[in-house]
Subunit: 255 residues, 2 copies
DNA sequence: GAGTGGTCTAGACCACGCG
DNA sequence: GCGTGGTCTAGACCACTCA
């Protein structure tokens, strides 16, 4: 049946290489997600509906959705439906933040206290442009802020965002929103971060960082450089964080 | 059919809670893996054979194996079969080592040059015992070594292994084996590491570490504390590494 | 009780690897 | 050409949620 499929599905397969039907369906659902057909947190159509729309069996749709769920683009809830993933959910406060208090976890610790130091538009340097797939000199927004836990400043970070997608962002918006920053990005700018890559190093605190994080100059800090991506691997944020690791640690699970 | 299954499968379900058939099958295959019915790198029986053995359909076995493959316990190869995962494979040199050269990757860099500083049996401290789920004073093996890339010492690490499982391990074994240490553990001791947890911090190099890594005392280093587990979440290694991050970085992908 | 995702089956056919 | 895993289907039934 895969080769004799009518129009909708295999119209999407420009590669002669062979792509399973469920992959094509996955691609189509992905396009709808990208296009904003369903908003973050909303339910997507049921498996039966999608099967009817694409003229395939429920099992094929199921396998497509299975992969989307494995990629964290979508969340299944038995008896209720399948929902577009969002950063604005109770579950884990900060999905991409792997810094944990040495005792307890993110949940026991409560939300971070944010302090925005700076938020301004500027022209991107060559380095920032490369990370964000822009041209040097394109408009970017730079944000600098600290995050504190229980009164102790723990993270100092600098964000760069493409000026185009984040027109009109303000320090008040960055500071005022209650909840993850990425949830604010979804709500206010329609930008959904889906995946990220981090490069981690140990560095010595310079005078400025030391002051803001209330540690002696030269103290070892964790440097975390993150590039976050929306759909289709489009980079939408460069973030450089300095973490204190005297009361917290970066946790990672390998398998 | 799930409720009327004959002996083999639901003899394994002590929980009345409801466990899908394929989960029970997964558990049974896992037991065989654990028991060493098939050695690392070997093929396990085909889906049809397993389906016949367990008296379920091929689809159910498939779903069980899908999960084992997702957990990296097993590797599927179309047209050939399904194989027990091993650390002794070309693919990625060091599966659990996330340290990458700033330019290029593990493949371009070639294998690490190992130097074993120390390998001795001792009684475990309370801290080591806790991590390895032993009692304080139980026998453990401590290994200290450095890894260098292109002549530059980059990693200084200390390993603790349960003395029981690693009887008779020698410095020569640690140094002499060509390939990942975890592959040597599989071959020589039948211990297969399946999963690990890491806690990462930034620390200042003490005099000893600075000397061995050829950096000034007080230099920032990445401290990586790893607990590695075999099947059933049994901890089998505690490892504390210090990484230079002037030419390398710890890479992590989030989703 | 209706609707959703989750499980299980049986059978057909496809892509791949290897002799 | 055979055996392996991979895809696709259709239909039955189960577990969960909510009105």
């Amino acid at each position: 049946m895969a080769t004799t499929l009518p129009s909708p599905a295999d119209a999407e397969a420009p590669t002669p290489a062979f792509s399973p039907l469920y992959q094509q369906i996955k691609g189509l659902i992905l396009q709808s997600l990208q296009a904003g057909e369903w908003r973050p947190g909303e339910a997507i159509p049921s498996e039966m509906e999608l099967a009817a729309r694409f003229r395939v069996s429920q099992g094929t749709v199921r396998k497509a959705i299975d992969e989307l769920a494995a990629d964290n683009l979508v969340v299944r809830r038995q008896g209720k439906g399948t929902f577009v993933a969002t950063h604005a959910e109770r579950q884990v406060q900060y999905r991409f933040l792997k810094l944990m208090p040495d005792t307890g976890d993110q949940a026991t610790e409560g939300p971070a206290e944010r302090r925005v130091l700076d938020c301004r538009r500027m022209r991107s340097t060559a380095e920032v442009a490369r990370a964000l797939a822009l041209r040097s000199g394109d408009a970017v927004v730079q944000v600098r802020r600290t995050l504190a836990f229980g009164g102790t400043p723990t993270i100092l970070e600098e964000l760069w965002l493409p000026g185009n997608a984040f027109k009109g962002i303000t320090a008040e918006q960055m500071a005022g929103y209650h909840g993850p920053t990425y949830a604010m990005f979804e709500l206010e700018f329609g930008v959904r971060m889906v995946r990220a890559e981090e490069k981690i190093r140990a560095v010595a605190a310079d005078a400025a960082a030391a002051g803001l994080l209330q540690v002696p100059a030269g103290s070892p800090l964790l440097s975390v450089e993150r590039v976050a991506f929306t759909y289709n691997d489009v980079p939408m944020e460069l973030r450089r964080g300095l973490y204190r690791t005297d009361t917290h640690h970066y946790r990672n699970d390998l398998s």
